[in-house]
């Protein structure tokens, strides 16, 4: 069967095109990234008002505050992942495209992490200063977030795909996703606290890495299944 005129290198080009498009859209509508970062800063800043501003108190709970705030900020940014495409018909176009949907989802998650997760990682040391986090904890914090934030995006993609078209999708997404985030939270904070007390934190980082590999392998496929049944 001749497919005259169709470029055979379509798949890789298609993924690259989707990645570039999402990055371009995020950069031009830059308010999304800024909003997520602002939320991160504000939530972290609320805690001294809540738990007291003594440096020792803040240092003791700092790891937890930073991670919970990062989690909530990541959650907030998730509706950007599929909702706009669902509403303007692009999702139908992606579902009807020749490229594998699993790979397209992976490309979207990568674009989402680059414009949401990565800025959170970059901002986190500054906020750690606000919370008087001890110095040895910084590498653990950054490494943990680098490994953990992509997992948040990937698991979040499943949730975001499931709630397309639901009533009160935003709140529902939180209810669905936050329990699944707990293991990442536990080991992310565990790494920082271990480092803060001078212990080794390699085990926690290795576990986060394992979560990341598992999420990379499974989440895009599940999200693709969820997207297909959303369009039915």
């Amino acid at each position: 069967m001749s497919d005259r005129g169709i470029d055979r290198s379509g798949v890789g080009g298609g993924l690259g095109a989707l990645l570039r498009r999402d990055l371009r859209l995020a950069l031009r509508q830059g308010s999304d990234t800024a909003t997520v970062l602002a939320f991160f800063v504000i939530v972290v800043s609320l805690f001294p008002f809540g738990v007291g501003a003594e440096p020792q108190t803040l240092a003791a709970v700092g790891a937890g505050i930073l991670w919970v705030a990062a989690l909530l900020a990541a959650l907030l940014s998730l509706d950007r992942l599929f909702q706009a495409d669902y509403e303007d018909g692009t999702l139908d176009g992606l579902l009807a495209a020749p490229a594998a949907l699993t790979l397209l989802v992976l490309a979207k998650c990568l674009a989402h992490w680059l414009t949401t997760g990565l800025p959170l990682v970059v901002l986190s040391p500054l906020l750690a200063l606000l919370l008087n986090l001890p110095e040895p904890a910084y590498p653990a914090l950054i490494a943990g977030l680098v490994l953990g934030t992509p997992v948040l995006t990937l698991i979040g993609a499943i949730g975001a795909a499931l709630v397309l078209g639901a009533r009160r999708g935003g709140v529902l997404l939180s209810l669905l996703i936050l329990p699944l985030y707990i293991p990442v939270l536990i080991f992310g904070v565990g790494a920082v606290e271990a480092a803060a007390t001078g212990q080794g934190f390699r085990a926690q980082l290795l576990l986060l890495g394992a979560f990341l590999l598992a999420a990379l392998a499974l989440a895009p496929f599940v999200a693709a299944v969820a997207l297909r049944q959303a369009a039915e």
Binding site: M1, S2, D3, R4, G5, I6, D7, R8, S9, G10, V11, G13, G14, G16, A17, L18, R21, R24, L25, R28, Q29, D88, G89, T90, D92, G93, L94, L95, A96, A97, P98, A99, A100, A231, E232
Partner: protein
């Protein structure tokens, strides 16, 4: 394009939620033919096009391309058609050109075809303009420009003429005629009296009048 391409639907039934939209639908389309879908609102024109585009599974019956069931190899099916739904899938913050370039790249079409496609639908002047400045008719033309830029054997068009003026409706008719003359197939749902090659039509029944009992009459048959 292969002159022996053939699209067949056999006893197709579609459920939307808990509502049976149509059942017992059958037709056959050959290379060079365009099928015109007509019918009142809610009769299932969009649902049928979506089923043909693989956006949902039929409740009963099957779709076959050249004798092979489409459900057996959905990847191959996606490589052979282009689908246009009600919505334009135009991103307001990308330029006109960037919108079209994205879809061309996604379908593996050559980048050289983008400028001619835009020219075909009189969008060359707006190529560098962000799409949020386009009127509704211009967005529809941008969505249709995909069909000029990306080669495909089967075209699935849902109300393509929404918001188009006469000149652009004529452009669309010419485009479909050229596509069919080269051996392509098309299924077009429309309210207008579009000039489509092949002349075949499928009138979907009004669901309010359809008998929903199992032994009731089937949906309309192809002309």
């Amino acid at each position: 394009m292969n002159p022996s391409d053939r699209l067949e639907c056999r006893d197709l039934a579609c459920l939307r939620g808990e509502r049976l939209v149509f059942k017992g639908l059958s037709f056959a389309l050959r290379a060079g033919e365009a099928l015109r879908l007509t019918g009142p609102n809610g009769s299932g024109k969009s649902s049928l096009l979506r089923l043909l585009a693989g956006l949902g599974r039929p409740a009963a019956g099957g779709i076959a391309w050249n004798g092979a069931s489409v459900a057996d190899d959905p990847d191959a099916h996606r490589r052979r058609f282009l689908f246009l739904g009600h919505q334009d899938a135009v991103k307001p913050w990308l330029t006109t050109r960037e919108n079209l370039a994205f879809w061309a790249a996604l379908h593996g079409a050559a980048a050289a075809g983008i400028a001619p496609a835009l020219a075909r639908f009189a969008l060359t002047a707006q190529a560098r303009l962000p799409a949020r400045f386009l009127s509704q008719g211009q967005r529809r033309r941008l969505a249709l420009a995909r069909f000029a830029a990306i080669p495909a054997r089967l075209w699935l068009l849902d109300e393509p003429t929404t918001g188009l003026d006469e000149a652009n409706v004529a452009t669309l008719e010419t485009l479909v005629a050229e596509h069919c003359a080269a051996g392509g197939l098309a299924v077009v749902s429309t309210h207008l009296a579009l000039k489509l090659p092949g002349g075949g039509g499928l009138a979907l029944a009004d669901p309010a009048k359809a008998d929903l009992a199992p032994a009731g009459p089937a949906g309309a048959r192809a002309a």
